[in-house]
Structure formats: structure tokens, C-alpha cells
């Protein structure tokens, strides 16, 4: 694991942390500092986020959970660089986040595959962009490896409308992972899937992340998903002016087994902690 993490570091980050002992995961790998986010609309200024501070370690899996409309996707978009904060700063691997970049790959909620390209071409588009200097053969190998990782080699030549929702989402994950990102950003990645497919993909994702050792930030509204996958769960208060209410550390060793955990007292305790936050302290009135 530790060695894997070393590999994902680029030269620039290595220089910056040269003073730190090697092998120790980097602190402040993703760092959000006093971030406010306002949206201007016809009705006036809407303050979505207020005073967000978050420090994510390298290799950590962090979930952001909250009621719909609390701005959790906005946090992810800020890390992705798709939107710029009104106030405050965001850093990734010591660099300020100014724009989207392939070091922060995003798995979108609705898979966002291009329907006119095959699965292979969809992944290849990302691979080509990041590793464009390599030979065509190498790019092909990388693309096939990514599809293989999510178990979709057989569907490489199919178009997105020819495969199931779960498979589409897996292609989305393959596209993100093929870029070998420093940080994997997942925006409700399994929200549109049925419960069984979701469970399967969660287990697969856990394995893949374990293998690659990359840092991950996932937005979710599924309590079980958050507890099962995360090292820490960031719980957000309701908007407007949403902020981080509490951060829960999930100290269950990995790999985790869904079935064993169902009976596990500590797991259920953590789960009820999140539920209590969401439905007691920060319950959302029905619209």
C-alpha cells in the first residue's frame, strides 16, 4: 500500500515533502480553507457554502453526506475545479486548484459517457489526453487495462446505449481511473442504480481504490455506502450557508465485508451516528 502511494506522487510533490519521512501519507493532500460559495441568480445572491474547512490525507477515502440541496456536490465541483469559490482557497497536492485537471478525475452521477463513442473510445479519449506522448499501442494497452479493471473488456466495442446502467457507471469509473489521477472525485456515483447493482459496484470500487491507493472524495446520500467505503464521513448541515457539521472517523479495518458488518456492533453504532446527525440534529423539513 505505502509503496503504491509513493508511486502516485509526482516529482513536484516529492520535492515539497522531501523533509517529511518517506512512506508516510501526505497531510493536506486535498486542502479546503475557509471556502465560501455564492451563486448569483435573478432573485439575488444565494450563499450555498459558508466557511468550509477540510483536510484530506493522501490515500484517504472521504465521503460527503447531507440532505439534497446542502451543497455537497458544490464542494466536489470546487475540488474538481469546475467552479471557483467566492472566498477561500483549495489545494491539491500542494498546488492551488485553479481549473479542472486530469490529476482530479471525476466520476459523474449520470455516467456522462459520450453516446456516439464506444466504451473503448470513451476511455481512450481520457487516456489520450493524459498520456498523449506515449505510443498508440501503449494508449490501447492502458485503455484495455482500465476496462479490464472494472470487468468490462467484453463490452469495449459497445456503445453506452447498448449496455446497462451499472455497466455505464463502471465505464465512467474506468475512464476516471485510466487517467491515474491523484484524486478520484465521485459525485453520487451509484445514485441512479438499483440496490443490488449498487452493492456490487461498491464492493468493486472498494477493491479498486484499495489496489490503486488513490485518494477519493465521494458525495453520497446513502448512509450505508458512506460507512462501508469511507475512512471519514463529512456530514454537512442544511443549506443555505451550509457548512461542515461533524466529521466521523470510520475506524473499521479494510477490506470490509458487507455481510459481516451487518452484524457488527461498532459498524451499526457509526451508522446510527450518521443517521442521528441527518434525521435528528439536522433534519430537513419535507418540501
Amino acid at each position: 500500500m505505502e509503496q503504491n502511494k509513493e508511486k502516485t506522487m509526482t516529482a513536484s510533490t516529492k520535492e515539497k515533502v522531501a523533509a517529511k519521512p518517506l512512506g508516510k501519507p501526505l497531510d493536506r493532500y486535498v486542502f479546503i480553507e475557509n471556502v465560501d460559495m455564492e451563486f448569483r441568480s435573478k432573485k439575488g445572491v444565494f450563499k450555498a457554502l459558508e466557511n468550509i474547512n477540510l483536510n484530506i490525507q493522501q490515500g484517504e477515502f472521504v465521503s460527503i453526506i447531507g440532505h439534497s440541496g446542502c451543497g455537497k456536490s458544490t464542494v466536489l465541483n470546487l475540488i474538481a475545479g469546475l467552479t471557483q469559490p467566492t472566498k477561500g482557497n483549495l489545494f491539491c497536492a500542494g498546488r492551488e486548484i485553479a481549473r479542472p485537471g486530469p490529476d482530479r478525475a471525476v466520476v459523474f452521477q449520470n455516467h456522462s459517457l459520450l453516446p456516439w463513442l464506444t466504451c473503448f473510445e470513451n476511455v481512450y479519449l481520457a487516456v489520450e489526453r493524459v498520456f498523449g506522448s506515449e505510443t498508440k499501442v501503449n494508449l490501447d494497452v492502458r485503455t484495455h487495462a482500465a476496462l479490464d479493471l472494472v470487468g468490462l473488456s467484453h463490452a469495449a466495442e459497445k456503445r453506452p446505449n447498448e449496455i446497462s446502467g451499472g455497466m455505464k457507471q463502471r465505464v465512467g469509473i474506468a475512464r476516471a481511473l485510466a487517467m491515474e489521477p491523484k484524486v478520484l472525485l465521485l459525485d453520487e456515483p451509484f445514485g441512479a442504480l438499483d440496490a443490488l447493482t449498487r452493492a456490487n459496484l461498491q464492493d468493486e470500487l472498494a477493491k479498486i481504490i484499495e489496489k490503486s491507493g488513490c485518494t477519493a472524495v465521494m458525495v453520497t446520500h446513502d448512509v450505508d455506502e458512506a460507512v462501508l467505503l469511507s475512512d471519514r464521513i463529512v456530514m454537512m448541515t442544511n443549506g443555505p450557508s451550509a457548512t461542515i457539521g461533524e466529521i466521523l472517523t470510520v475506524d473499521i479495518p479494510k477490506p470490509r465485508n458487507r455481510l459481516q458488518l451487518a452484524e457488527d456492533k461498532h459498524y451499526n453504532h457509526l451508522r446510527s451516528e450518521v443517521l442521528r446527525f441527518l434525521y435528528e440534529r439536522h433534519a430537513k423539513k419535507a418540501a
Binding site: A80, G81, L82, R99, P100, G101, P102, R104, A105, V106, F108, N110, S112, L114, P115, W116, L117, L125, A126, R129, R159, N161, M179
Partner: protein, 305 residues
């Protein structure tokens, strides 16, 4: 009903002995073949009836409509003086189409030549309009500044009647043929510009987010996202444009003269051969319909959903 108990017996006995198991296999095979034999016949008979019914359902309304048109036409022709009915028009058409490609001097050519020269003008004017209009539409859709810059010009010029452009064409080109092509160009360009621009602005934000996250360059965005995603809109624009072009050519040729279906209509009016005018109306309609169908076929070919 009988099969089930036998089956059960065999199943039970097959646990003890292998011979009955074989028997069971045979039995089930027979069953399968029986059912597969029956099913296709029933199915094909079913679909055949369904198919012919479906064809009838598709055919009957348009046929009734056309018959009604002919009836109304005959009625009016019987009342009005000088207006030929369907039968005399059909007879004239037979004569006309028996020799479509004769040339008796510049002003007396067969119907085929007239159609061909009109189509040539449309192809040229429309082709030029597509070459200018589609890229322009892409740029207007992609760059907000350009959109705002061109919006007043487009709103000002688009509603202008196509023929109002003819004098300008005659003045600039000093010849009838380029002036007619110019009129086609200027009237066919708007639907392509507008539809392409709308298509580009309607590209789902998700795809643009993908482009941003992947940091695609402008060329990749154009070829991998904008063009495929906008293609249906572009083809709608093309379809509207070719419709407009074909509409306008008749009017333009009436004014410019030469060889062409529009001028032919005017010529036949001067000769008072009303049958030929009616034939021309049908010809214009049918050619327009064929152009439209051709483009719909292309559009279907490129739809990815």
C-alpha cells in the same frame, strides 16, 4: 395435463435408475419440438395478418386524402372556365414526360432540363449557404460574444422576403443566374445558422464538464463533443434550408428567366397552357418531397440514440 404426472414419475424413478432418465430426455425433447413446431406457425400467421393490417392502416388515410383532392379539383375544374381537370392534365403529362430532354432553343426545352437546371441552382446556392452557415452557426453557438454580436444582424435580415434580395444580386453580379443563386443562398442560410447555433448551445452540460475535466483542447471538443452532439440540430437546419431553397427557386426563376421550372411555369402562363402549370405544381411538390425524404434518411443514418 397428462405430461406432468408422467414427468414426476420419471423424475422420481430416474434417481434410482439411469434408463428412465434417458426416456425422460426423449420425452422432453419431443415436447420441445412439438411446442417449437406449433409456435412459429402460429406466430408467423399472426404477424402476417398483423402486417397486412398495419400496411392497410398506413395506406388507407393518405389514399383517401389524395382521392379527395382529385375530387375537389375535378369539381372546381367543372365549374371554372379554362381550368383543366385531372384527366386532361394527366393526358398532357403523358405527352410532356414522353420526351423530357428535348432542346428547341434556349427558351424551349424539355421538362427534364428545366428540373435539372433548377436543381443545379438550388444545389449551388444551398451548398454555399451550408458552407458558410454551418461553421458560422458553430462559432455563434460556441462563443457568447459572437452570439451577441450577430444576434441583431440575424434578427434584422432573417425576416426579409427572399425576393427582396434579387435586385441586389442583379446589381452586384450583373447576370440573372448568379443573382438567382444568390437569392437561394441568402434565404437558405438562416435556418442553418440558427439551428446549428441552438444545437451547440444545447450540448448537455455533462458533456462539457467531461471536456473540462479531461482538459480537452478546442479541436477535440469540436470533433468529439460539439459536432456529434449538434449533428441532429444541423440536419434539421439543413432540412428546413433545402425546403426554403426549393420554395424560393420557383419565384426567383420567374423573375430571372432562362431555363428552370419557375421560368417554365411563367412561360406556360404566357402560352396559356394551364395543364402544364398544374403539372409544374405537382413536379415542384414531388421534387421537394423527395429532397426532404432524402435528408430525413441521412438524418436517421446519423442518429446515435
Amino acid at each position: 395435463m397428462n405430461v406432468v404426472p408422467i414427468h414426476q414419475e420419471i423424475l422420481e424413478s430416474s434417481k434410482e435408475d439411469t434408463k428412465p432418465a434417458k426416456l425422460q430426455m426423449v420425452k422432453t425433447k419431443a415436447e420441445v419440438t412439438k411446442s417449437t413446431q406449433i409456435l412459429p406457425i402460429a406466430q408467423s400467421g399472426f404477424t402476417w395478418g398483423e402486417k397486412s393490417k398495419e400496411i392497410m392502416r398506413q395506406l388507407i388515410p393518405p389514399v383517401i386524402g389524395l382521392l379527395l383532392l382529385l375530387a375537389v379539383w375535378s369539381l372546381i375544374a367543372a365549374q371554372a372556365q379554362g381550368l383543366p381537370g385531372p384527366i386532361s392534365t394527366f393526358k398532357a403529362a403523358v405527352v410532356l414526360f414522353s420526351d423530357p430532354f428535348y432542346i428547341n432553343g434556349p427558351n424551349d426545352q424539355g421538362i427534364g432540363w428545366n428540373i435539372v437546371s433548377s436543381l443545379q441552382r438550388v444545389a449551388l446556392g444551398f451548398g454555399l449557404a451550408a458552407m458558410v452557415g454551418i461553421p458560422l452557426g458553430f462559432m455563434i453557438g460556441r462563443f457568447e460574444f459572437l452570439n451577441r454580436m450577430t444576434a441583431p444582424i440575424i434578427s434584422l435580415l432573417r425576416p426579409v422576403s427572399p425576393l427582396a434580395w434579387l435586385p441586389i444580386g442583379l446589381l452586384v453580379f450583373k447576370a440573372a443566374n448568379p443573382a438567382a443563386i444568390w437569392v437561394i443562398f441568402i434565404s437558405a442560410i438562416w435556418p442553418m445558422i440558427i439551428n446549428t447555433a441552438v444545437g451547440v448551445s444545447k450540448v448537455p452540460q455533462d458533456y462539457m464538464n467531461v471536456a473540462k475535466v479531461l482538459n480537452l483542447n478546442e479541436w477535440k471538443i469540436l470533433t468529439k463533443i460539439l459536432i456529434p452532439s449538434t449533428l441532429p440540430y444541423v440536419l434539421t437546419g439543413v432540412r428546413l434550408s433545402i425546403g426554403v431553397a426549393w420554395l424560393v427557386i420557383v419565384a426567383a426563376e420567374m423573375l430571372t428567366g432562362g431555363v428552370g421550372i419557375g421560368f417554365w411555369v411563367w412561360d406556360e402562363w404566357n402560352n396559356l397552357v394551364v395543364e402544364h402549370i398544374i403539372i409544374a405544381i405537382f413536379v415542384v411538390g414531388i421534387v421537394g418531397l423527395l429532397l426532404e425524404q432524402f435528408l430525413i434518411a441521412i438524418a436517421k443514418r446519423f442518429s446515435y440514440e
